[in-house]
Amino acid sequence: MAGKTTRVVMPQLGESVHEGTISKWLVKPGDKVVEFEPMLEVDTDKVNAEVPAPVSGILREILAKEGETVQAGAEIAVVETGDGAAASPKVESQAPSPPRGEGRGEGGAQKTEAQPAAPAPPREGGEHRYSPGVQMAASDLKVDLSKVTGTGLGGRVTKKDVEDYAAKAQAAPTATPAPAPVQPGEGDQVVQLTRERRLIAENMTRSKQTIPHAWQTQEADMSGVVANRNANKAAFQKQEGFSLTYLPYVMAATISALREHPEANSTFNETELIVHRTINLGVSVGLEDTLLVPVVRSADSLSIAGLARAVNDLATRARGKQLKADELSGGTFTVNNSGTFGTLFSYSVINPGQAGILTMEAIVERPVAIQGMIGIKPMMYLCFSFDHRVLDGLQAARFLTSCRKWLEAVTVESPVY
């Protein structure tokens, strides 16, 4: 008789990651697996992740082969645990622990995230038993019962739930009819969306549909920053092996402004605002065919050089598709550097869960008036998209002003390390 077995399930590798493709099994049936040791590699939409074994034992069976895409929570393997002497086999499902650091703020937030709700008790009488009253109300009000969330005993859908659902549906503005699908014309090329593209599309749509975006810009005199970088870049290149860019300066300015205006470093939760203590700064990294936003954790503890190193490391690994799932989530604010592509104004889309995104634009030498005279200065626009539910124009302007003043206060002598 076999011993106790544990069924290994596909872990959820990120907040919005619901499935993964098994790229490689690192063990084969009969092999010993050790708790917390890598057991397989999973390719999600953005990263390759190693999944550790949830228990120690012998791998008995692989249920999902390499190349197979499975939903989070689906069973992928059976591991035999214990000494095999148990009289009756007991089967349990166990998900490997998800990668660390999934939650926002890692305990640093002023309000920690709610514990995941206990699994709902099984619905009484199975999934699709509705009371006659519920069925009648659903038919009268033309409600699809599968879409109604039950609030009754054991998650039962009540008549009231159906009525509330119908009332809400009626209150919601009728959706604008979708434009007629465009048929590809002759010679047009139809490109299937990649997973990354689909995910970006979903995220951007969600952001624009749920977050009332507002936008402001200020112009910063970058003379000091340019001088500082020029003074340091040779030594920096020699010391670090990569070049010093303007991005870490803007990141440092952002961090300083977030410290001054913590409400910009927050998450709007419908009924409350979670103001994060830790600053986890997301940085947009544009690749040829996709966009990644790796996160520099506790960015407020890093110097300009430290930020430069962190960004360089993340960007390098992003290009090699080697980022871990938790390096792509948990950001509390985002800095975008589209200026590097020559843009002057960007109306960036906020990452859902954050209160704003700051875009640094191209640094351009421009004639400017200085104390009644005209001079040439390297100027840069700072464009700020913000969640108007969290910040009003006044707070946003103050935040931008802090960023600008920080940048304009940099001199040749300002330390990089």
Partner: protein, 309 residues
Amino acid sequence: MERDERVMVMGEDVGKKGGVFLVTDGLRNRFGEARVIDTPLAESSIAGVALGLAIAGKRPVAEMQFTDFAHMAFNSITNEIAKYRYRSDGDWSVPLVVRAPMGGHAHGALYHSQSIEARFATPGLKIVIPSSPYEAKGLLLAAIRDPDPVLFFEHKRLYRMFKEPVPKGEYLIPLQKARTFREGKDISVFCYGLMVHYAAEAAKNLEAEGVSVEIIDLRTVYPLDREAIVASARKTGKCLVLYEDNFSVSVGSEAAALIADEAWRWLDAPVKRFGGLDVPSMPYAVPMEEFFMPTPDKITRVLKELAAY
């Protein structure tokens, strides 16, 4: 009695004393000994004499001092009075009213607390239980004018529980018609007598939680106002049938069965009953009486469970 000379009152201590609860106080002085009769302590005889008087063309209002003692007249009431019209093929009717104080939560113990409506429910009889002074007057006048026998049970606790203005002069409240005591949309409570007021207290508690409770005062508990019951049950889909009588084999059981029968397709929860305990008697000790009775607190709890279902 002023309007109709045939109307007369009879019972134990109803004349000189004016009744143990003073319901007939002053009638003897106004209408005289011939129309307000003190009877011997013999309930069977009271019912039998009233039957004879009714057949002879009078409109007797007979009082049983407590419903508990009406059992002595059980044979007369259920075997004779109830069946007279049927037995005579409609030739003779029995236009009498039997009044009796009923119910508990008045510290009356074994012989002064019973709810006997279900036991006396017999085809040929109507059983009316009013829930307030205003209701009592309108329903009693209608009962006296009804051509057939009516049992009229007044809740003892309601005699002294609250006051309300009662108009002078005549007004009739039709028998066999329930009333909506309180409008609501989430749960219906079907009840009568004292329980109407206990249910109203509980409904207020539920209102604080956003649950809207409808209260249907049945008024005539036999035969039931089927239309009113079914309409409210269909409207809310969640029903509590509330009564003070013993839990099993009650007027409430009948109402619950009716709802299950005729409102099934509208129901969103099992039909719930809440009543007194199935024990031989209303206890005397106060905590035990509380234990027996459906109280506003207990009703609140039951309603909350139903709301959450």
